[in-house]
């Protein structure tokens, strides 16, 4: 009977119910989109790092975060050192990173070395880098920026000539010649990272120890490096998600509080009727809270549907900048956040309804 009372109330004011669902859904969408984006970007970066085909990643001693968007920090002479002086190393190549607009990074490579290490890019169209101003872009970035083969376009105040459209999944979305990027950034003789391939991946721990004992470089195995690409390891992301969750609770609270307060006011007389029938305070409170739970669950479902809408929009317009994934594991978390907000919001209207004087409530017009 409680269920019937709740659903009949929601059906009785369909516009109010629908608006409440939508508004409660907004923070759910926010949370799911944000988490989907954070994880999507990290997963995308992990995949591209793995796609290089290296066994070790060597970074400068100052590298703190895995998201190395700062200036290059490793002397290029180390490339030769690693390739020739360190046992088990079969190949080493340096890359230069330049942040274009977050999170899109342009990466400068030595094409011949890189192709040997990774097996080369997979070309949708065009061919590999040859001239100093040649540029490769991946399919998603080309679609997002409407770039085509043979086009010349300006990026970081330099004119580039598109010579190839590549499949994503290897190293970077935008690839140029390393020396050109070093020249533009005035950092000749330095690289951002050095990717190292070993004769046998089983030797990775020994080689890491060997390099670290002989230099001040920071060395990670590929396994370690990709594991660093997690939400918890990127400074500020976890905190940001918490803030959005907090906002979610507040919005859920405010929407449900307002909606239920209006609803309780409109139903003052009905509450009086229920009280005249002997309904206890608990009974009245239970109905209001049950309605809040239904609003919370409905809002979560709408929010999840809207997050698919956001996913579709992002894929359609900025697939390269914002690779979003749907995080099913976050559905219950977003739902719980919303329910907490909804229940908190229903508490005041519920208690005030439960405290109504039955005679006054029955006289309410």
């Amino acid at each position: 009977m409680t269920t019937k009372l709740v659903f009949e109330n929601l059906k009785h004011k369909p516009m109010r119910s629908l608006l409440s669902f939508l508004l409660i859904g907004v923070p759910v969408t926010l949370i799911l989109t944000l988490v989907g984006l954070a994880n999507g970007m990290l997963q995308d970066s992990q995949n591209r790092a793995r796609g290089v085909g290296a066994d070790l990643v060597v970074r400068g001693s100052g590298a703190t975060s895995v998201v190395n968007l700062g200036p290059p920090a490793v002397r290029e002479s180390y490339v030769k050192f690693l390739a020739t002086e360190v046992p088990h190393v079969t190949m080493a190549t340096g890359v230069v990173n330049h942040l274009v607009d977050f999170p899109v990074v342009m990466t400068g490579i030595y094409p011949e070395q890189f192709d040997r290490m990774s097996g080369g890019f997979e070309y949708v169209d065009g061919h590999q880098l040859s001239g100093p101003d040649d540029i490769l872009v991946d399919r998603l970035y080309a679609a997002q920026k409407m770039l085509h083969l043979g086009q010349t376009f300006s990026l970081i105040n330099h004119d580039w000539h598109v010579v190839g459209i590549i499949e994503g999944g290897k190293l970077a979305r935008i690839v140029v010649q390393a020396p050109t990027l070093q020249y533009i950034d005035s950092i000749q003789g330095e690289v951002s990272q050095i990717w190292v391939k070993l004769d046998n991946p089983a030797n990775d721990d020994a080689v890491v120890k060997d390099i670290e004992s002989r230099t001040d470089l920071k060395v990670n195995t590929m396994e370690e490096f990709t594991a660093l690409w997690s939400v918890g390891n990127i400074h500020g992301v976890t905190e940001f998600i918490y803030v959005i969750m907090g906002i979610g609770v507040v919005i859920g609270f405010a929407v449900v509080c307002l909606s239920m307060y209006m609803s309780v006011l409109q139903r003052t007389r009905e509450i009086g009727i229920l009280k005249s029938l002997g309904a206890s305070k608990t009974f009245i409170l239970r109905i209001i809270l049950a309605e809040a739970v239904v609003l919370g669950i409905g809002g979560t479902v709408i929010g999840i549907l809207m997050s698919y809408g956001a996913w579709w929009l992002i894929r359609a317009f900025v697939p390269a900048s914002l690779p979003m994934i749907i995080m099913y594991s976050w559905w219950p978390i977003a739902g719980a956040v919303t329910l907490v907000g909804a229940l908190l919001g229903a508490l005041y209207p519920g208690l005030s309804a439960a405290r109504h004087d039955p005679i006054e409530a029955l006289a309410y017009e």
């Binding site: 009977m1 009372l5 009949e8 005249s276 029938l277 309904a279 305070k281 005679i359």
Partner: protein, 227 residues
């Protein structure tokens, strides 16, 4: 204080505080009602009849005096105690019907049973009452699809579904035309006669009061005459 009376009040007083002014609504009411009686309470507006009705129905506590309803001392009853009284001991019929607008007639009756903790199907006696009320065909309609007379009959059905000791009817014919008024009053008489239902009915209408066994006249918070 019992002596076979289902309702018994002695020097019952109720004072409302409006702003900073005390407004006496009942100024010492002595009333005795036996089980199975059908009593009409008449009086002008402000005579205290509604207040008496609200106190006996457990909607508000008295300020002073004694009041016993079905063996319970209402003066000492807590809010929860009064809630329990409304649940099991009294049933209300109001002038404005007061059905829940979102629920069908059937659910309006069911909700009263549910609140009283009665989750089984209505008993055969109640089915007979539904036939008596002539609303069997209208149970699946919501109040806005029912006439005033039908709504009041549903309200009566809801009031007696839990077999209360006392049925309190506040101007039950106040919003009805002559024909429906007569029908509702006959139903109340029938309930009283067939089931021995104790009924207290507030009314302005002398014709309605004539249906009761006894009429109590109130004025200025006191009972001035019994006829």
């Amino acid at each position: 204080m019992n002596n076979g009376f289902i309702i018994q009040t002695q020097d019952l007083r109720k004072t409302y505080r409006v702003g900073k002014v005390d407004v006496p609504a009942l100024r010492g009411v002595d009333l005795r009602v036996k089980p199975g009686e059908f009593l009409a309470i008449v009086g002008p507006s402000g005579s205290g009849k509604s207040t008496l009705f609200h106190i006996i129905g457990g909607l508000t506590p008295p300020t002073s005096g004694q009041v016993r309803v079905a063996g319970q001392d209402l003066a000492t009853l807590t809010d929860a105690g009064r809630t329990s009284l409304r649940k099991r001991t009294v049933g209300f019929v109001f002038q404005k019907f007061n059905l829940l607008p979102n629920l069908t007639a059937r659910d309006n009756i069911a909700v009263a049973r549910y609140i009283a903790g009665n989750h089984s199907a209505p008993d055969s006696q109640f089915e007979e009452v539904l036939r008596l009320l002539g609303i069997g065909q209208r149970l699946d309609h919501k109040p806005n699809a029912l006439s005033g007379g039908e709504q009041q009959r549903i309200a009566i059905a809801r009031a007696i579904v839990n077999h209360p000791a006392i049925l309190l009817a506040d101007e039950p014919t106040g919003n009805l035309d002559t024909e429906n008024s007569k029908a509702v009053l006959e139903i109340l008489c029938d309930l009283n006669r067939r089931l021995g239902q104790t009924i207290l009915m507030i009314t302005h209408n002398p014709e309605a009061a004539a249906f009761a066994h006894q009429t109590i006249h109130m004025r200025d918070g006191r009972i001035i005459e019994k006829t």
